[in-house]
């Protein structure tokens, strides 16, 4: 017995020691004129950075810079950036920052104006970035990051449903106008109800997952019903939500919930994807973050690949809004490899890479690439994206947004599921947001 245990322990130790050595070795840089350098990059995990990763050998060959990319889920990217990037030290030379978190990190990031001039790739021209996206990389008038993906609400409608002659005739007979991509909230609700009531498909796919996404839906509704949530006026942040309009927006969403698939109360991205793209019945119409289009257009993951019509979101009674949710890439002031880091960003935001990224069904934030007519036919979401850009709306941005979006999520979901009267839910959102702002000293 005793000997068995010691043998076991010895084996364990030997195995671990051997493997520890095995991990130690690291491949050396490739041969090239420039000195070998390594940069560490922290990015969010979705098809876009993944597509980029596949192209890295090309960058390393041209610059002799090795890039270690660490990809994590967005909340984890936030946590790691917050802990590891300080004024004096950083584990990463390039970090991806979600637009809502720019205010937190702005003071730690190298202003774009003082980035090095590239030696291999030219410095990114800010004018090449789509104007609506440009502002997400700036804070207090200083550009601190390069907006890198053109992520904002785009609308998806099932082409096969709206083009079906039977449905078209039935719908026309009942509502008196043609079935099509919904252009207004009224059309969205009526068409959705038509499909839902006839048990053809669910009418709508809500988002009730993470707080940031729920805030997007709330802002979408409120902007469409003509009210802003929080505004920066007179040097301070104030809740400017018009409660009557906000209640209308919530009431409308509640009606959409009624024509949504079962389980709508807990639908996050995964469940929405399952409902829209994997369920045989599917969903008639809903928003999508274009960053995810690659998955919806992948026949291995989607029953509706090639069957989706893209457009700007339908307009509400008093406005139209496409909520933005883009990422900027930035260089921490404390990075010791700022030159190599800048080189990497310039390469990423270059035209050549943007064109390749588009081919991978992702959406770089370069105007000329997004509006290139050569892509419009094979990538139908690009023209829709351009339309959405015209009505882009951003969520409020300030350091305490984390607490505010929790409050919004809590009462929004209660309001739209009927667990609380909508006017009461809106009242609580306003009250508790005011409390947070007051406590934060605005």
């Amino acid at each position: 017995m005793k000997s068995k245990i010691s043998v076991l322990l010895i084996v364990l130790l030997a195995v671990s020691a051997m493997s520890a050595f095995a991990v130690g070795d690291k491949d050396s840089g490739t041969a090239s004129g420039a000195p070998a350098r390594t940069i560490n990059v922290l990015l969010w995990d979705d098809p876009y950075p993944k597509a980029l990763m596949a192209m890295l050998p090309e960058f390393t060959a041209a610059t002799n810079i090795t890039v270690n990319i660490e990809m994590l889920q967005p909340p984890q990217v936030l946590t790691k950036t917050a802990i590891s990037v300080t004024p004096t030290s950083t584990d990463y030379d390039v970090v991806g920052i979600d637009e809502g978190n720019i205010p937190v990190f702005a003071s730690l990031l190298l202003p774009f104006d003082s980035w090095y001039k590239g030696t291999v790739y030219p410095k990114t021209d800010p004018k090449s970035i789509t104007p609506k996206m440009y502002s997400i990389g700036t804070w207090n008038g200083v550009q601190v990051g390069v907006p890198i993906n053109g992520n904002l609400y785009v609308w998806m409608t099932r082409k096969d449903l709206i083009e079906n002659p039977t449905y078209k005739a039935q719908f026309k007979a009942k509502y008196g106008y043609d079935l099509g991509v919904p252009k207004t909230f009224k059309e969205l609700l009526e068409m959705g109800t038509f499909f839902y009531e006839n048990d053809i498909a669910a009418g709508f796919g809500p988002f009730n997952g993470g707080p940031a996404g729920v805030l997007s839906e709330a802002v979408f509704m409120w902007e469409s019903f003509g009210t802003k949530f929080i505004d920066y006026t007179g040097g301070t942040y104030k809740v400017v939500l018009d409660q009557a309009k906000a209640v209308e927006g919530m009431e409308f969403y509640k009606k959409l919930m009624a024509i949504s698939p079962k389980g709508a109360e807990t639908m996050a991205h995964v469940e929405r994807q399952a409902a829209f793209a994997a369920d045989p019945k599917g969903v008639f119409s809903m928003f999508i973050w274009p960053a995810q289009i690659a998955a919806y257009e992948d026949p291995a993951k989607s029953l509706v690949a090639g069957k989706i019509a893209y457009s700007a979101p339908p307009a509400g009674p008093r406005g139209q809004a496409a909520v933005t949710g883009a990422w900027a890439i930035a260089i921490p002031k404390a990075s010791k490899n700022q030159e190599a880091a800048a080189e990497f960003v310039y390469w990423w935001s270059s035209k050549a890479i943007a064109d390749k990224l588009v081919q991978a069904n992702t959406i770089p934030a370069r105007t000329e690439t997004l509006t290139n007519p050569a892509y419009a036919a094979s990538k139908p979401w690009l023209p829709a994206l351009a339309d959405s850009m015209k009505v882009a709306a951003s969520r409020p941005r300030f350091k305490e947004i984390g607490q505010v979006q929790d409050v919004v999520k809590k009462y929004w979901v209660m309001g739209i599921t009927g667990a609380m009267p909508t006017n009461e839910a809106i009242r609580m959102i306003v009250k508790e947001t005011n409390d947070i702002l007051q406590k934060a000293g605005y």
């Binding site: 990037v85 702005a106 730690l108 807990t266 399952a274 984390g402 929790d406």
Partner: protein
């Protein structure tokens, strides 16, 4: 009947033990553990205490660190979500762990015999414990989905109403408890099984031959003998249950509303959602205080080392 654990006691042995300094020094045995614990546990705890006295943003870009004294603690006491999270956490512990103990004990008693494939069964039953908590949470979320969730469909076939289980405060809370019981009762089983294996089989057999009924045997022979192991299982489970996080996070993210925001999830939210490390640290200190009280009162009374020795060494 003699116990295999007790060799013939000799007078000379006692003398030798006394002569060798009676006790010898425990220090060499304790030093390595103390070193590790000091470096990677005590230091962070002291640090955490210091942080709890500050308004300490997680990111250096989130503002200045500011000494606020007891300010965080005051905020906590005033925060109704904090008390709610504590209540949910305690409820979770009081419901899940007793059930896990009962299940684990029953299975240990039942499987404590040799039968074909017994070893494989005992190893297989442990698989849920090895199942990554995030994946477990995700799988349960998936199984409870309306329309395509397997467990949901099973419940429907039993005549349950159509409900979005994770969208309903009570059912979501029940679901995270069931998930934990599912995942962790085999842990209790394994521990108790090992404890049971430590009881010489002749004791168990003797009781059987004596014609004692099962329940008598359980309460008069087995449970008293297993007392230390059961308490250990209980303690270790409580410790883990206080730290439960990722499975609940992926299942419900603490929702709907705040109905599954356990203490640990609320701590996480303060630290990483609101980036208020000071508040999170204050919550940790609060938990530490509860743990100390718990250890000093309950554990000390029931599980002092002397008592353990009485239970074990003198049988």
């Amino acid at each position: 009947m003699t116990f295999s654990r007790r060799p013939a006691t000799s007078q000379t042995g006692r003398v030798a033990l006394r002569r060798s300094g009676g006790q010898g020094s425990p220090v060499p045995f304790l030093v390595p553990a103390l070193l590790i614990v000091f470096a990677v546990l005590i230091f962070p705890i002291v640090f955490s205490f210091v942080v709890s006295l500050f308004d300490w943003p997680l990111s250096a870009g989130g503002g200045q660190r500011r000494f606020v004294g007891a300010g965080n603690y005051k905020d906590l006491v005033m925060d109704k979500e904090f008390w709610n999270s504590l209540r949910l956490q305690l409820g979770f512990i009081f419901i899940a762990i007793p059930l896990e103990l009962v299940l684990g004990l029953a299975a240990a008693l039942l499987l404590n015999r040799e039968f074909q494939g017994g070893r494989v069964v005992r190893a297989l039953i442990l698989l849920p414990v090895f199942f990554l908590p995030v994946v477990s949470g995700m799988t349960w979320r998936f199984m409870l989905q309306p329309r395509y969730g397997a467990l949901n469909n099973f419940l429907l076939s039993l005549g349950a109403p159509e409900i979005t289980w994770l969208g309903h405060p009570t059912f979501a809370y029940a679901a995270i408890i069931v998930q934990d019981i599912w995942r962790m009762w085999p842990f209790v089983f394994m521990l108790l099984y090992a404890g049971l294996a430590g009881i010489p089989s002749d004791v168990l057999e003797a009781a059987e031959i004596d014609g004692a009924t099962f329940w008598k045997r359980l309460f008069l022979v087995i449970l008293p003998l297993m007392y230390p192991t059961i308490l250990t299982a209980l303690l270790l489970r409580i410790i883990d249950a206080l730290r439960i996080f990722s499975e609940v996070y992926v299942m419900t993210e603490g929702g709907p509303g705040m109905s599954t925001t356990l203490f640990s999830l609320y701590t996480h939210r303060q630290a990483f959602g609101y980036m208020k490390v000071g508040m999170a640290s204050a919550m940790a200190m609060f938990l530490l205080t509860i743990s100390v009280i718990f250890a000093v009162t309950l554990v000390r009374k029931n599980m002092s080392l002397e008592k353990l020795e009485d239970q074990g060494g003198n049988r």
